[in-house]
Symmetry: C2
Subunit: 228 residues, 2 copies
């Protein structure tokens, strides 16, 4: 799998899942024509994420969003009942895309060592293809409502659990050595997150996605594959 191919898969999921968002939020979304809704939801989400890569969600006014999305302030309120709900919709959409792509990709790997490499690479590719969303979700997490916060934490722990599973299997199969599987998974996640949290740094230093992914794999394997 090369990155450009990967990006296409993500974009297809994006339109696809905007349809699901409509289904799941029929009551808040006042516009009836499905085609119109999907088209405008994508406009609204993209504009929001673009603005929020520079300032916080709270600092983004509805006036800002209207200007950037091309819709008027009034029209925007046909797609969500209030600003907080917009936040929730974006969370929902992103999580659904990320989950789908991640599980799809990982399912087709063989042994634990290969699974680990693919999981790392896929996660980094994913956060590259959906960079604004990953950054947004991370940074806005504490501004969510309590129930939404809970969902975000669950999603975070679920991703971590994927790594815990892979490593545990690897230890059983005696390809990995680890005396603390959970901490190992935690620091892998920390390294994965750095890619989207400090993107300015890596861009500036011309570190490519693949270079970073390969490096994380190397560090991880140095720890897990080592002989005592």
């Amino acid at each position: 799998m090369i990155y450009s191919e990967f990006k296409k898969i993500v974009n297809i999921s994006k339109e696809d899942i905007s349809g699901q968002i409509l289904e799941q939020n029929r009551d808040s979304i006042k516009v009836k024509k499905e085609k119109k809704v999907i088209e405008n939801l994508i406009k609204i989400f993209d504009a929001t994420l673009e603005i929020c890569s520079r300032k916080s969600f709270q600092a983004m006014s509805i006036r800002d969003l209207a200007a950037h999305s091309g819709l008027s302030r009034g029209a925007l309120y046909s797609y969500f009942t209030n600003k907080e709900e917009l936040l929730n919709l974006i969370q929902m959409q992103g999580r659904q895309i990320a989950n789908r792509v991640l599980t799809e990709q990982i399912s087709c790997a063989g042994g634990a060592a290969e699974k680990l490499r693919i999981a790392i690479k896929t996660h980094i590719y994913l956060s590259e293809a959906m960079h604004n969303w990953f950054y947004f979700t991370y940074i806005e997490a504490r501004n969510l409502s309590k129930p939404e916060q809970k969902k975000a934490i669950e999603s975070e722990l679920q991703t971590e659990a994927i790594f815990v599973d892979i490593i545990t299997t690897g230890v059983k199969e005696k390809v990995f050595v680890s005396d603390n599987v959970i901490l190992t998974a935690s620091v892998i996640k920390a390294m994965l997150q750095d890619w989207y949290l400090k993107r300015w740094k890596y861009t500036q230093r011309k570190v490519s996605v693949d270079e970073y992914a390969d490096f994380v794999i190397k560090v991880t394997e140095a720890s897990l594959l080592r002989k005592k």
Copy 2:
């Protein structure tokens, strides 16, 4: 060095540096009595960081801050000219404390391998002792003015440079093996930051500061000390 000792050093620096903050901001701070200023600045900073561990700086109103700090809204404006300046003061104070303690601690180490262990442990201890500040600075970074943002980035890169230096020395002395010193330093930083960014997770799992620090040291050494 054990954590409880370390914490005392940080608290002494805190009062100490509030005095410096006053010197450096004589024109914005309208209150004249030095003792009063230091006392109230600490109240204001602590209250701000406490509130901002739960909501964003923008979401914190001056009314919130007045209630939590014990000062009235009017009185607060005797210590800063506007809300943004309060943000800058807190950045300034935190950076000065962190820099002082970090350089002090690292200076007294021997070889590269020991220096690396001490640098990792000190950074994690520091972010534990000043947790609210580290979290705040990270999460509010993009809401700073351009010049303040520049300072934050400099400070970030400076910390990274400490690790780059140590590793480079270690490679020269042939105690470390690394084909990409900068990426190695980057992922070490990522692991260090996870301690204060995901503190809820580690608290919940009852992972202690020392346990985490030792684990990060182990992962790092597995990568750097490995035989080809």
